[in-house]
């Protein structure tokens, strides 16, 4: 099995991958951007026009104080205001599984953006599977630490699930990355990857 270390950005490997994908001087929208650290990094290192949407007022405040243009709102309804193809990239990092209507959101992302970057935790990872098999309860794993009743993860998915959605939506995958910790995963991603990062677009 071939593995390779992935460098980190702001302590996160998925950010490093997103940072590698995003071309300089582009327009980027980060959905659920938190306190704007990724956007600030992209603006500083890649000179992108960085925008964000975040629901938490406290996080929006920190993002704006960093100088990032962030809008306080709900990503499930917030994209409708934007015109078509307003952005080169729309980023959804570790949030797809928390959204009400993931399929609709993906469509909206590809309406307002030419490309979508989706990073999500893989529910098919072996640790999740063994947790469920041996405990007989809703699985707990480092990436899924919550009790079932207070988990924000309402639409958990695996790598294969996402591939199915891509096929259903007839999307083109430009790049896909699989991560376990800080290592890249080259084989059996649905079993071995903790996090998947996809760059997709409409044909």
């Amino acid at each position: 099995m071939k593995t390779s270390f992935v460098r980190e950005v702001l302590g996160r490997s998925d950010y490093a991958i997103i940072g590698e994908i995003v071309e300089p001087k582009t327009r980027v929208l980060d959905l659920g951007c938190g306190d704007g650290e990724l956007l600030e990094w992209l603006a500083a290192k890649k000179g992108v026009d960085a925008r964000g949407v975040e629901l938490s007022g406290a996080k929006v405040q920190r993002a704006i104080a960093r100088g990032v243009s962030v809008y306080q709102g709900d990503i499930n309804e917030g994209l409708a205001d934007y015109p078509d193809h307003a952005f080169d990239y729309v980023i959804l990092s570790q949030t797809l599984q928390e959204t009400q209507h993931p399929r609709d959101l993906l469509r909206e992302m590809l309406r307002v953006g030419r490309r979508a970057i989706v990073a999500f935790p893989n529910f098919g990872h072996w640790r999740v599977r063994t947790s469920m098999m041996f405990s007989g309860r809703a699985p707990r794993a480092p990436r899924f630490p919550y009790e079932w009743y207070d988990s924000p993860n309402i639409h958990v998915l695996t790598v294969l699930d996402f591939e199915d959605l891509i096929a259903l939506e007839k999307l083109v995958v430009e790049r896909r990355f699989f991560l376990a910790g800080h290592r890249g995963v080259a084989t059996l991603p649905n079993l071995l990857a903790e996090v998947a990062v996809y760059l997709v677009r409409r044909p």
């Binding site: 929006v60 405040q61 993002a63 704006i64 104080a65 100088g67 243009s69 809008y71 934007y82």
Partner: protein
């Protein structure tokens, strides 16, 4: 920081209503220094009853400015880095030409012969002052409430001159409720016999009417919660009800006090003219959509609203933000949690200050 007001006189100003004011004077204060490239100027725009004295201690009155908690060395509008300019609005009574000014044609105060003015007229006069300073681009235009309306108007009418705009607790157009409260204030003034058709200069001014107008205003600037916290049902200097119509409750005492204080510093006719200008305010002026009008702006926007502000509710700020987003304009928005109602932008400024500080720093950096 002791500051002094200055006044500049211009030959004339054409108004939206068709009239021309000649001459016209504008009072202003400045804090900080203009840099060599003139890229660090900020225009601060006051709300309804404000004046040019935004920061520092007034040489004349010994009082701090109305936004002294936001403007000064090391503060959000950092006067060690930026030059801050604040003017008194057209129609005001604190140095800028208004209904209490003397009409040179008659030698008497204008009173009700003063032409009806608009937010656009106020901005046009400010623009003359900024040009007089030789400042080609303003790093930001900002203000709360009516100040936010002026900031929006600046961004739309003089897009090349406005790098960024920070409208706070404001709106793109006055709503029926906002017009209604203003009308109550105006009617209170005009119902006072001392108002005398506006002709009261040198005589007894309509102090009772103006005080009542201010009392209504103060209620709209607070929130149910802030009033409950501040006054509750506490009685004023008594243990039991007086069974009469003198002051019983703390809140009554407070409103009467604020009303009577206001009379000493504000002109009743200015109240009429400035509230009318706010009521006329609609950024679209009935032409086109809000998005198509805001699209003229080239500025970066920071929009702030407050959770307990029921006079300028968050939905009005969100309308503005939605219109900006629909044309993919650069806008940051947050609703800050505060119990202080519409007054939040003046009194509960810790979080607002951090937002402004970061937004300004990044805007300044990009603009160089």
């Amino acid at each position: 920081m002791v500051v002094e007001a200055n006044t500049v006189r211009f030959d004339s100003l054409s108004l939206d209503g068709g009239a021309t004011l000649a001459p016209v004077e504008v009072a202003y204060e400045t804090y900080g220094r203009l840099n060599a490239h003139k890229t660090n100027a900020i225009l601060v725009l006051h709300a309804f009853s404000g004046d040019a004295h935004a920061a520092g201690i007034s040489h004349e009155t010994g009082k701090p400015g109305w936004w002294d908690n936001m403007i000064g060395p090391g503060k959000a509008f950092d006067t060690d880095r930026y030059l801050v300019i604040c003017t008194n609005v057209l129609g005001g009574c604190r140095g800028t030409t208004g209904p209490s000014s003397v009409n040179p044609e008659t030698g008497c105060p204008y009173a009700m012969t003063f032409p009806v003015i608009t937010i656009g007229d106020m901005v046009r006069l400010q623009k003359m002052l900024i040009d007089w300073f030789g400042i080609e681009r303003l790093l930001t235009v900002t203000g709360g409430s009516m100040g936010g309306m002026q900031a929006l108007k600046w961004a739309v009418d003089y897009p090349e001159q406005v790098v960024s705009a920070i409208p706070i607790a404001s709106t793109t157009r006055h709503s029926a409720q906002q017009i209604a409260f203003n009308e109550v204030g105006r009617q209170a003034i005009m119902a006072d016999p001392d108002w005398n058709g506006g002709d009261y200069y040198g005589k007894q001014p309509p102090a009772r009417g103006l005080a009542v107008a201010r009392m209504v205003g103060h209620i709209t600037y607070m929130s149910d919660e802030s009033m409950r916290e501040k006054f509750g049902r506490r009685l004023r200097d008594k243990e039991t009800f007086g069974f009469g119509f003198d002051v019983d409750f703390e809140v009554e005492s407070y409103l009467r006090y604020r009303g009577s204080q206001f009379v000493n510093r504000f002109d009743a006719n200015s109240y009429l003219y400035i509230t009318k200008a706010m009521d006329y305010f609609d950024l679209t002026e009935g032409q086109g959509t809000l998005s198509s009008v805001l699209e003229r702006a080239q500025a970066r926007f920071l929009v702030i609203s407050f959770s307990s502000d029921w006079l300028y509710p968050s939905y009005q700020s969100q309308e503005m933000v939605r219109a900006l987003r629909s044309r993919n304009q650069d806008v940051a928005y947050v609703e800050l949690q505060s119990n202080y109602g519409h007054d939040s932008f003046l009194v509960d400024v810790a979080e607002q200050a951090e937002l402004v500080r970061g937004f300004l720093a990044s805007t300044f950096e990009r603009a160089q």
